[in-house]
Amino acid sequence: MSNSFKRNKKLAIPFLVPSLLVYIIFFIYPALSGLFYSFFDYKGFSRDKTFIGISNFVEALSDKIFWSALVINLKIMFFGGLFIFLLAFVFLIIFQCIGHFKGTIRALLFLPNIISPVAICILWGFVFNQNFGLLNNILTSMGLENLIVPWLDPEHIMGSLIFVIVWTYVGFYFVILLSGVSKIPDSVYESAILEGASPIQTFFKITVPMIWDVFTVAVVYWLITSLKMFELPFSFTGFKPRMEIWNLPIYIYMLGFGRNDAIYRIGYAAAIAVFLSIIVMIFVQISRKLMSRESIEY
C-alpha cells in the first residue's frame, strides 16, 4: 500500500465522520432503542417500563391482526411488484421502439412520485367514489354499467389500493431500469439489428440480461419499500385506515400511537417492528439468492 493511499484514507475520515454521526444518531441509536423497548411493557408517556423478556414477541405470534397485516404486506409486495415490473418492462419495450417524446413520456410516468401520497389518495378517492367518481362515470358512459362496483368496499378495496400503488410506483422503477438500459452500448443493438433480430428478441436477449444487475437492485428496493409502505395505505381510507388494509406498518402505528382510540403499547409495537425488520431481511436475502447471475461486462 503506498503512502499516498494511506494519507488519502486518513484524509477521508474527517469527511466521513459527520455523516457517520448523523447515521448513528438518527438510525443506529433509534433502531437499537426500538430493539431495547421491544423487551418491555412500555406506554411511551413516562419513563416507567416493565421488563417482560420475549413476551411481546410470543404475543405477536398468536396475534390474529399481526398475521392478517402480514398477509396484506405480502399481497402488496407480490401483486404490486408483479404489475409494477411487468408494466415497467412493457414501457421499456415501447420506449425502445419509439423515436419521439421520450422525455415527455419519462416525465409523465415519473410524475406520481413527486406528488404527496396523501394527495394521491385524495385524488383516487374521488376517482373511485361510487356516486360521483370518474371511474364509474366513464364505465356508465361506455355502457359498461355491469362493471360498476363500490371500488372501496371491503371486497374491492385491496385491488383498488394495489392499483394506486402500481400507478404511483411504476414510473420510478421504469426510470431505474431505463438507467440500466442507457449504459448498454449502441454497438450491441446495432449488431443485433444487423443480425436481423426483432425488437422483442433484442429486448429479451440483450436488454434484460444486460440490465439484470439493475433489475435485481430494483427488486430488492421494491421488497423493502412494499414491506414498510405506510403513507399510501394509511391515507387511502380517510382519517382512519380501514382494517381491511392494515399492513404491518399501520398496525405498528396503531399499537404505538394511533388516533381517536389509540392503544399506546410502544413495547409491543417495537416488537412487531423488529419482526418486520427480520421479514424484510429474509425477503431481501431470498430475492438476492434467486436473482443472482453472473454479471455481464461490456
Binding site: L11, L21, E59, N129, P154, G238, R259, N260
Partner: protein
C-alpha cells in the same frame, strides 16, 4: 494540514450540534412564557379562534404565549416531551384521548383549585359556569384534570327543511324512526347516509346497547373477564338491531370513504345521518342554501332498560401536564379563555359551548345539538368510555363489529365471537 482539518471538523460538528440546541433549547427570555401546544392545525377555524384569545391574553396580562400547532396528533409530540422533561405548560384536545394516554397514569395536573376559584371577571365561581356533566370526565384519584371548552354529542342529523316539507315530527321511539325509514324506502329514497369507518360503524351497537341495556352495560361487556355479561339476551337483541338497521343504509355505503358518505347525505342523497355534533362544522360549505341543520337524540327503544333521556357528552378542552414549568400561567390562561365572549365566538365555528347562560347566543345550526347537551337526563361518555380501552376497542371489538354490520356474520355469531375474543383478551 492535519491541524487545519481537525479545526474544520470540530467547527462543522459544533455548528451541527449548535443549531438544534439553539432551536429547541430554553433561553432566559422565554422563562416566563406560557408554552401552549394546540390540537388544532394551523389555519383551522378553531386555531384562528385560539390565536385571538392568545392575542387578547398577551395584551391584557403581558404574559407571552409560545403557541405551536402539533395538530390532531398532539399526543405524539407530548409523549416524548414529557419523557425528556420538556413538557409543555398547556395542551388541549379530546378528553377521551387524554384519559387513555396521560390521565389514567396521573400525568396531568389536578385543576380543582381552578374550579373552586372565580371566573376571569370574578362574577362567580369558575365551576358554576359549566353545563352539568361536562367537567367530570377527566378525573384521577377523585380530582379533575380537564377543563372543557366545547361539548359534543352523537345524534341523528337531518335537514329541517326536508322534515317541514314532509310534515314530519322528531321520532320519539325507534319504531317511529323505522316507520319513517320504511316510508322513504317505499319512495326509493335512501334513509341513512354514512361513511364506512370502524369508528362510525361502532355508533350503532353502542347506541342500541345504551338504549336497550343502559349506561355502563357496554363497558361491562368489555371488562368482564368471565364473559358472562355477553350471555344477557338484550346484548343479542342489540346486535340483531344492528343487523336490521343496516338494510336502511344508503346503497353501496361500504365503499364510502370519509367524508364521501356524509357529503352525500348533506347533498340530499339520504335523509338521516348518525354522527357527532361537529358535523355542521365539517359540512357547512357543502350544503345547499336552504339546508337547515337539525338534530335529534337516538330514539328510545321499546322495552329498553336504558334511560331514554340519557345523553352522550364528549368534551374537548384544556389540560396541564404534571411536569409543566409554568402551571400557574396555564391555569390563568384557561380561566381567561373560558370567558363567555370567547365561547360565543367559538360557536361561530359550529362547536357547541360548555357554558351555561348562553342560550340566547346559540346559532341556529347548533341549536338542536345544544338542546340535547343541556337536556335533562343522565350523562354518559361516547361509546360508554370504551375508547379509553383502546386495545380492546380497536383490535377485539372493531373487527367483529365490522363483520356484523357488513352482514358477514349473524348476530348470534357476533355475540359468541366477541364473548370468546374478550375473554381471551382479558385473560392473556
Amino acid at each position: 494540514m492535519k491541524r487545519k482539518l481537525t479545526i474544520v471538523l470540530l467547527f462543522v460538528i459544533a455548528i451541527a450540534f449548535a443549531f438544534p440546541l439553539a432551536a429547541g433549547g430554553s433561553s432566559e427570555s422565554d422563562e416566563e412564557a406560557l408554552e401552549f401546544w394546540c390540537y388544532w392545525d394551523k389555519g383551522h377555524p378553531n386555531d384562528l379562534w385560539m390565536r385571538q384569545i392568545i392575542d387578547d391574553f398577551e395584551k391584557e396580562t403581558g404574559i407571552k404565549v409560545n403557541y405551536s400547532n402539533p395538530g390532531a396528533n398532539i399526543l405524539l409530540s407530548v409523549a416524548p416531551a414529557i419523557v425528556d422533561g420538556n413538557a409543555p405548560d398547556l395542551i388541549d384536545g379530546h378528553c377521551i384521548e387524554m384519559i387513555a394516554s396521560l390521565g389514567n397514569d396521573g400525568l396531568l395536573l389536578p385543576l380543582e383549585d381552578l374550579y373552586s376559584g372565580t371566573t376571569w371577571d370574578g362574577s362567580g365561581t369558575f365551576e358554576s359556569q359549566f353545563i352539568e356533566g361536562t367537567t367530570t370526565q377527566g378525573m384521577y384519584d377523585g380530582e379533575r384534570w380537564f377543563v372543557p371548552y366545547c361539548a359534543h354529542t352523537s345524534c341523528f342529523h337531518y335537514n329541517k327543511a326536508e322534515f317541514e316539507k314532509r310534515g314530519w315530527e322528531i321520532p320519539e321511539t325507534w319504531d317511529d324512526f323505522i316507520a319513517m325509514c320504511d316510508e322513504l324506502v317505499a319512495e326509493g329514497i335512501a334513509p341513512i347516509g354514512l361513511d364506512n369507518t370502524p369508528l362510525y360503524n361502532a355508533y350503532w351497537f353502542y347506541w342500541f346497547m345504551e338504549r336497550i341495556c343502559g349506561t355502563g352495560a357496554f363497558w361491562e361487556l368489555a371488562t368482564d373477564p368471565t364473559g358472562a355479561a355477553w350471555d344477557n339476551p338484550d346484548v343479542l337483541r342489540a346486535a340483531q338491531m344492528v343487523a336490521d338497521v343496516s338494510k336502511y343504509f344508503i346503497n353501496g355505503w361500504m365503499g364510502n370513504v370519509w367524508p364521501a358518505g356524509q357529503i352525500a347525505w348533506a347533498q340530499g342523497s339520504a335523509i338521516f345521518h348518525l354522527d357527532g355534533s361537529y358535523i355542521a362544522n365539517e359540512l357547512f360549505d357543502k350544503v345547499d342554501e336552504d339546508f337547515e341543520f337539525g338534530a335529534f337524540p337516538f330514539p328510545a327503544i321499546e322495552g329498553g332498560k336504558g334511560d331514554p333521556a340519557s345523553k352522550e357528552i364528549s368534551v374537548m378542552g384544556f389540560a396541564v401536564p404534571k411536569d409543566a414549568k409554568h402551571p400557574d400561567l396555564a391555569k390563568k390562561f384557561i380561566q381567561f379563555a373560558l370567558q363567555p365572549k370567547y365561547q360565543i365566538s367559538m360557536m361561530e365555528t359550529y362547536y357547541p359551548t360548555t357554558l351555561v347562560g348562553l342560550d340566547d347566543e346559540i346559532p341556529d345550526y347548533i341549536k338542536d345539538v345544544y338542546a340535547i347537551i343541556t337536556s335533562d337526563g343522565p350523562v354518559h361518555m361516547m361509546y360508554d368510555g370504551l375508547q379509553s380501552r383502546g386495545e380492546w376497542w380497536s383490535t377485539v371489538f372493531y373487527p367483529v363489529d365490522n363483520d356484523l354490520i357488513y352482514g358477514n356474520i349473524t348476530p348470534e355469531e357476533f355475540v359468541s365471537r366477541l364473548k370468546a375474543d374478550t375473554v381471551a383478551y382479558l385473560n392473556k
